[in-house]
Symmetry: C2
Subunit: 644 residues, 2 copies
């Protein structure tokens, strides 16, 4: 029943990501375990483990928590799995095994596994798939089970979830006696594809495809089940179900709408299905939506979701910096989606966005110690506005401890722990290098083992060395992505300059060769400080620039530049120096330059007056956006006024 | 009991304001009368008149509407009174007399007059003064009664309200057996001062002072009455009662907070009381709050209230153009307050703000036909954002018909109908001219009649002629305000140039003279197009300018300048021409000039790219802000990006 062996392994040796992986291992995973067991002082109880105990009949009590509380356990298990994959930890594995045993005991005989319904409303299973996250929780548990199997080779958890998936497959589907429903929060679609990958069982792929293709059809299933449960409440978000991307059939959707995480989890599954079922129509839909999101609805940080109402997309070019939602989870979802688009087509536009989200909008969600988190990642913060304006309450000016709805921290943990999965992809005798970071990776090509070892100081400089090692001399292709931000790229093999322009295809330098032991590739991606403009239709950014260097977006913080960051104007011609500062924020490249600050002094008590230009020179200092709010709290700004 | 005679009369002959007065007379007052009587198709019923019938025992049925529904009738009657003052209308007066009779029949024997409590909860009078607007409605009725007496000389309505006020005075006050409460929505405070003015009865002044001085003291009355009514609900806005300006004693308040209309109605009464009780401490509080509002929390249009949550002030220099609340009623209240500050001290800073609010943030609330209204007057509108963003739903991109909560249209009606009251003030033998508009006014100085007749084409040019006429040669002072926006002012008397610089005091040119029949003053206030900047601490406006000419603030509309107004950059040096266009918007001065538009074409499908400067020249056209949205709907922008 299980066909897949453990994946080709990638071990991270990177300083930058290694640090984050260590933080996840040493801080986030243990901390979340305490949270799941209600052992944190001054924090609302999670009750997530206790819910499983109650469901298993091993404890007394009531279900407590969100309707999707089970998913917290799932995301923790998945992060543990990825962490074990990169660094074994017998104690942690034992704990995880015990949780998995508990899950098994909480599972119904028919395979059903959801503590909310089992404990609280056993008669009401599947009566409100729109709001109650049963299928969402199942999806996260399936993802965790697949990861745990791949990491440890143990199949207990996987078999629990196979049993649950088999049961779900008897409940939902096109057949007459089955429910024609689909989840209100997409997630199981992509999880079922993973289950298909690891089992080879096509019924999971078909069920995923059913959920995607049934979505948004008329008569509308959410209305049908609503009537069946005699629910007369108005749906909170809107009546067309755009919030759930169920306002029309998925294949007719051309613009990203509604809840951003729901949307992008779905797009991820769609790309998976397009690839694995060879569905060119669905592929086209994915491409159209990708273009809409990344060319019209994405912040420069890789953040998506520009409004708090519905944690949602709003409309094309509507990207307010101080009102964004840009949930950490949504940027994480964008990484998943980009990864799947690369499976559909090797094109650097996908890896560019993946890299952008990884170095900016995802990790900005966590402080450097892994102790505090942003749910929302704004591009502009004034602490007083967050405190005093009702419409900016979601914009926190400092990271928070642990959330009542704790979706982002464990989601970030599983992404970081699995970062090695995003570096490469392989299509038979072609190896693609999408991301640059220190790692040692093992592949099998034509039955022969190929080792790649990357060395780089990325993202602070763009010099990458890749050592190739094969058992025997082997003919295959190594394709190196040239990031969209890179100019004047240099490639050498064994010290010899390569004319890479002629080898470029879709943003990758294709190096076909009889690779042998100790071959060395050098890739030099000069990182320059760039002033970036937004499309003039982004009305919030006209007259402004953002600073970018390599894959990293920069910002100004009050601690470096004083109050009222909006009063700073950066001349187009000002020289900007980038320098690595080992003592700043665990070591980052900072950007400095001479700008102008509008004089506040001579304004006295005036609020409005005739236009004058009175500025004083100011040396500005910009730091990587992801690292903001790791020192004194204060203002932060990505898009800086330009003097032109 | 009534001591005051009819006021010195001012008849408006002004083209600009005459048009608005006509619109109020011909359109708003009759329309509202239909609304009050539920005779409008496709509009939620008002039931306001019917509520009085039910309270009078002359109709069957339930109370319907907001808890402050009575105030709609009051504001209508006040607008009618002011309208009759300027233009008699026997039919309208008869209708008003009938309403007044009905009010009399609805009044309780003890004087109580409130249809909500009389009809719905007769046992619960005065149990929730925080939320239920009893004192607020009483205030509006008192204001209407005073206006009706002054306009018609009839005392029926006034006597009804004297009876009610006398009753209220037995309920609230410092004496042991009285309630130590005060209104949740201030309004009666300023109304009681008017009642004192017309009756000379100090107890109304004292009751107003009691409401002001009791406010915000501990133990907090809103908490006391809450406990008494066994109300355990959390107060919606916040727990410190800043929403109601009851978070601390009034005399300790230094910053404007909370609901803007509540705040400024209160400040108006405070200024009244400071003047009439000769209270220098209270005067200082007024000045401090005035400075805070007008120098730190006011939009350039005279709009106040920068957030929808609580329709409230937010904090200093927080003036987002696309999220403002800037309620029409709040700008109207600012006119009231400015008017009272002038009673405290003649200083042009007060009249400047009064003029600013009159020509911009108040009348923007109504279309040129008096048929549609804005409750919220934003400084920047993108229709798609209003439709699609939850945080911008209050920003309407077109004026609405008539509101469920219909506070703004009748408030605007009473302001416009009484505009003549704001032009002049008199302190014994000193006449002050605060506003310039065509009118004929009559004063009594030293027992002699003095007539002033103003002729001007204001606000389109600043040439003002004032014809003075006295029965006999009389020695008195005419003081002319020099607006803050004016440069190179010229004054002539009977054709002879006056060295006015030496006669300036506190922004007024003091012309002391033995005035005689047919004296003529010429005041020339050259109106130039000005680029105005905001204080750099207003973070939303850095790098932008607003166009201003005379008292009028300008804006760009999509219909004149195309889509994406944010893509327009106005060079600092661009010449701007102002020209009267009789065919535009009932005749306005339009401003034209050559600006630059960021090229959108060459962006193709890019969202972000390296900074370039590609602009095309564009002739821009700006129109008066108050007149926006009288043609095709579309984008609107006050603060324009500047190329510097």
């Amino acid at each position: 029943m299980i066909v897949e062996k453990a994946k080709n392994s990638v071990k991270i040796s990177d300083k930058f990501w290694g640090h984050y992986q260590e933080v996840v291992r040493e801080q986030v995973i243990p901390y979340q375990w305490e949270a799941l067991n209600d052992r944190l002082p001054n924090t609302a109880p999670s009750h997530a483990i206790e819910n499983f105990r109650i469901a298993a009949g091993e404890a007394e009590g009531e279900f407590y928590g969100m309707v999707f509380q089970d998913s917290d356990v799932a995301k923790w298990l998945e992060a543990v799995a990825f962490s074990l994959e990169t660094k074994p930890n017998p104690d942690l594995e034992k704990t995880a095994d015990e949780v998995i045993e508990l899950l098994g005991r909480a599972q119904g005989e028919d395979g059903y596994l959801n503590t909310y319904y089992t404990v609280k409303e056993p008669e009401k299973r599947w009566t409100n798939v729109r709001d109650n996250h049963e299928l969402y929780c199942a999806g996260h548990l399936i993802e965790a089970a697949v990861a745990y199997y791949r990491a440890t080779g143990k199949d207990k958890f996987l078999n629990i979830m196979i049993k649950y998936a088999d049961y779900i497959d008897t409940v939902f589907g096109p057949e007459e006696d089955k429910i024609k429903g689909y989840p209100g929060h997409q997630e199981i679609e992509l999880a079922l594809v993973k289950l298909y990958d690891v089992t080879g069982n096509k019924k999971y792929l078909n069920l995923s495809k059913f959920f995607i293709d049934e979505r948004g059809k008329q008569p509308h299933y959410f209305e049908i089940e609503k009537k069946e449960r005699s629910d007369s409440n108005r749906f909170f978000f809107n009546i067309s179900y755009a919030y759930n991307q169920a306002h029309k059939p998925v294949r007719e959707q051309k613009e990203a709408v509604g809840h951003a995480v729901r949307a992008v989890y779905m797009y991820t599954a769609m790309a998976d299905l397009a690839a694995k079922t060879n569905d060119p129509e669905l592929k086209k839909v994915c491409e159209t939506l990708w273009e809409n999101v990344t060319r019209k609805q994405m912040y420069i940080t890789g953040g998506i979701g520009s409004m708090v109402f519905g944690e949602a997309f709003s409309f094309d070019y509507d990207l307010p910096n101080d009102l964004s939602y840009t949930e950490t989870c949504a940027s994480i979802a964008l990484v998943f989606w980009a990864n799947r688009m690369l499976d559909l087509d090797i094109n650097s536009q996908y890896a560019d966005i993946m890299e952008l989200a990884l170095y900016n909008g995802t990790i900005s969600g966590m402080d450097l110690d892994g102790k505090k988190f942003f749910y929302v990642n704004p591009l502009e913060v004034l602490p007083e506005a967050s405190q005093k304006r009702g419409d900016k309450r979601h914009i926190k000016s400092v990271r928070q401890g642990w959330f009542g709805c704790a979706c982002c921290p464990p989601n970030l943990a599983r992404l970081i722990a699995s970062i090695g999965h995003y570096i490469y992809s392989q299509k038979e005798k072609e190896l693609f290098v999408h991301l640059y970071m220190g790692n040692d990776a093992k592949f099998e090509i034509d039955g022969k083992e190929v080792l790649l070892s990357q060395h780089t100081n990325y993202p602070w400089d763009g010099n990458v060395e890749i050592h190739v090692s094969t058992e025997l001399q082997t003919d295959f292709m190594i394709s190196l992505r040239v990031p969209g931000w890179a100019r004047k790229v240099i490639v050498k093999i064994n010290g010899q300059l390569i004319d890479h322009e002629s080898l470029m295809k879709d943003g990758y330098i294709r190096l076909q060769r009889n690779w042998k032991k100790d071959d060395k590739i050098e890739l030099i991606l000069p990182m320059e400080v760039e002033r970036i403009q937004a499309n003039p239709l982004v009305r919030h950014n006209n007259g402004k620039v953002a600073l970018h260097r390599g894959p990293v977006v920069y910002c100004l913080e009050e601690v470096d530049n004083g109050k009222n960051l909006h009063g700073i104007f950066l001349p187009r011609t000002a020289e900007l120096q980038a320098e690595f500062n080992p003592d700043l924020l665990d070591g980052v490249v900072e950007i400095k330059g001479l700008a102008e600050r509008v004089s506040e002094k001579d304004w006295g008590n005036h609020l409005y007056r005739r236009a004058e230009t009175n500025t004083t020179p100011i040396e500005i200092k910009a730091i990587p956006y992801y690292a903001w709010c790791n020192r004194e709290p204060g203002e932060m700004l990505v898009w800086v006024n330009e003097k032109n």
